[in-house]
C-alpha cells in the first residue's frame, strides 16, 4: 500500500481539530521543514493513521481511534500555523 497525502485525512483532521486543517502549516520538530498539512505523507493502513514529514520522513502525527475516542499524538510537530 502506497502512502497518500494529507488531503486524505482532511475529514479526520476536521473531526479531531474542529477546523479545516489541510492548509494549516505544520513545522517538523525534527528537520524544521514547514509545509501545509495537505502535503503530509499519510499511511492509512498502519495501526491507526500515521502522518510523516515529506522532507525527512519523521512521524509528525499519529491518530488512533479507540472506543469512539480519537487519541492524537502530535509530538513530531513543532508548530501549527494557520494559513
Amino acid at each position: 500500500m502506497q502512502p497518500l497525502d494529507g488531503n486524505a485525512i482532511g475529514g479526520l483532521m476536521l473531526e479531531v481539530f474542529g477546523a479545516e486543517m489541510t492548509t494549516t502549516v505544520g513545522t517538523c520538530d525534527h528537520c524544521g521543514a514547514a509545509a501545509e498539512l495537505a502535503q503530509l505523507v499519510v499511511y492509512l493502513q498502519a495501526p491507526g493513521t500515521v502522518a510523516r514529514c515529506r522532507s525527512c520522513g519523521s512521524i509528525l502525527m499519529v491518530v488512533v481511534q479507540a472506543r469512539g475516542v480519537h487519541c492524537v499524538d502530535a509530538r513530531g510537530l513543532a508548530r501549527l500555523d494557520a494559513a
Binding site: 502506497q2 497525502d5 475529514g11 479545516e20 495537505a38 502535503q39 492509512l44 493502513q45
Partner: protein
C-alpha cells in the same frame, strides 16, 4: 441520492440531493460513511465532481475488492440515503480569482476534482487558459469523455492512453514522463498553477517532472489517492 450517471463501464457519477449544503469549492472532497446492519462502518473520501453551485455529485470507480465503491456504483438507487460529511479540504482547490494559466494533470479517476475546476471556470466565465493532461488506460476508461471532447474555448485537452489505443490513435500512448510533460505543460516562465491528482506513483512522477521543468514546488499542488480497502 438523486440520480446516477454511467461514465464508463466501471465508473458512475452519483448526484446527491443534500439538504443544507453550504456550497463547496472546486477541488474539495467529501467523506462517505456506510454502516452495515451489524454496526460495522466503512468510510471513504470522494472528490466532488460538480462545480460550486451545481447539485453535489461524486464520481466513483468500482474497485472489485472494495468495501464502499461496489455499493455506491451497483446497489445505491435514487431516493436512497447515504451519510456524508463535507465539503473537506482547502489546499487542493482552485477558483478564478487565483488566475492562471492552469495546468491540470490527472491519472485515472484523478480527473474528478479537476473536472470540478473546469466546470467552475466555465460557469464563472473565466478566460484563464487551461491545459488538461489526462492519463488513462484505454479510451473507454476516459471519464467525462464527451464533456472533455466539447471542452470550452481556452481549454486544451491532451489524452495519453497507457494500456491500449484504438485503431488510428495518433495521441500519446505512454505513461506521463519528462518528455511528455515538456511537450504539454506550460513553460515554467508562464508561472502556471499546476494541480496533479492521481495514484501516488503517478503524482510523484508528475510533480517531480514539473519541478524539473522549473515549476516552483509551491505552484504544484498534489492530491494522491489509492484504494483503501483493507
Amino acid at each position: 441520492m438523486a440520480e446516477v450517471v454511467g461514465e464508463t463501464p466501471r465508473v458512475r457519477t452519483i448526484v446527491l440531493d443534500v439538504p443544507d449544503w453550504d456550497g463547496h469549492s472546486a477541488g474539495q472532497h467529501l467523506d462517505v460513511r456506510l454502516t452495515a446492519e451489524d454496526g460495522y462502518q466503512a468510510e471513504r473520501e470522494y472528490s466532488i465532481a460538480s462545480a460550486p453551485g451545481e447539485p453535489v455529485s461524486i464520481t466513483v470507480e468500482r474497485l472489485e475488492d472494495g468495501e464502499v465503491s461496489p455499493y455506491l456504483t451497483e446497489e445505491l438507487r435514487a431516493g436512497d440515503g447515504i451519510e456524508i460529511r463535507g465539503p473537506i479540504g482547502g489546499y487542493f482547490v482552485w477558483g478564478p480569482e487565483a488566475g492562471g494559466p492552469l495546468l491540470l494533470v490527472a491519472g485515472g479517476s484523478g480527473v474528478v476534482p479537476l473536472r470540478s475546476m473546469l466546470r467552475h471556470r466555465q460557469q464563472t466565465g473565466s478566460d484563464v487558459p487551461v491545459r488538461l493532461l489526462y492519463s488513462s488506460r484505454t479510451l473507454d476508461d476516459v471519464i467525462y469523455r464527451e464533456e472533455l471532447d466539447g471542452a470550452a474555448d481556452g481549454v486544451e485537452v491532451t489524452l495519453t492512453l497507457t494500456r491500449a489505443q484504438p485503431p488510428g490513435w495518433t495521441g500519446y500512448s505512454r505513461r506521463v514522463d519528462a518528455e511528455l510533460l515538456a511537450d504539454v505543460a506550460w513553460a515554467a516562465a508562464e508561472d502556471a498553477h499546476a494541480f496533479v491528482c492521481g495514484p501516488t506513483s503517478f503524482v510523484e512522477a508528475v510533480a517531480g517532472g514539473l519541478v524539473e521543468l522549473g515549476y516552483p514546488a509551491r505552484r504544484v499542488k498534489t492530491e494522491r489517492f489509492g484504494a483503501t480497502g483493507s
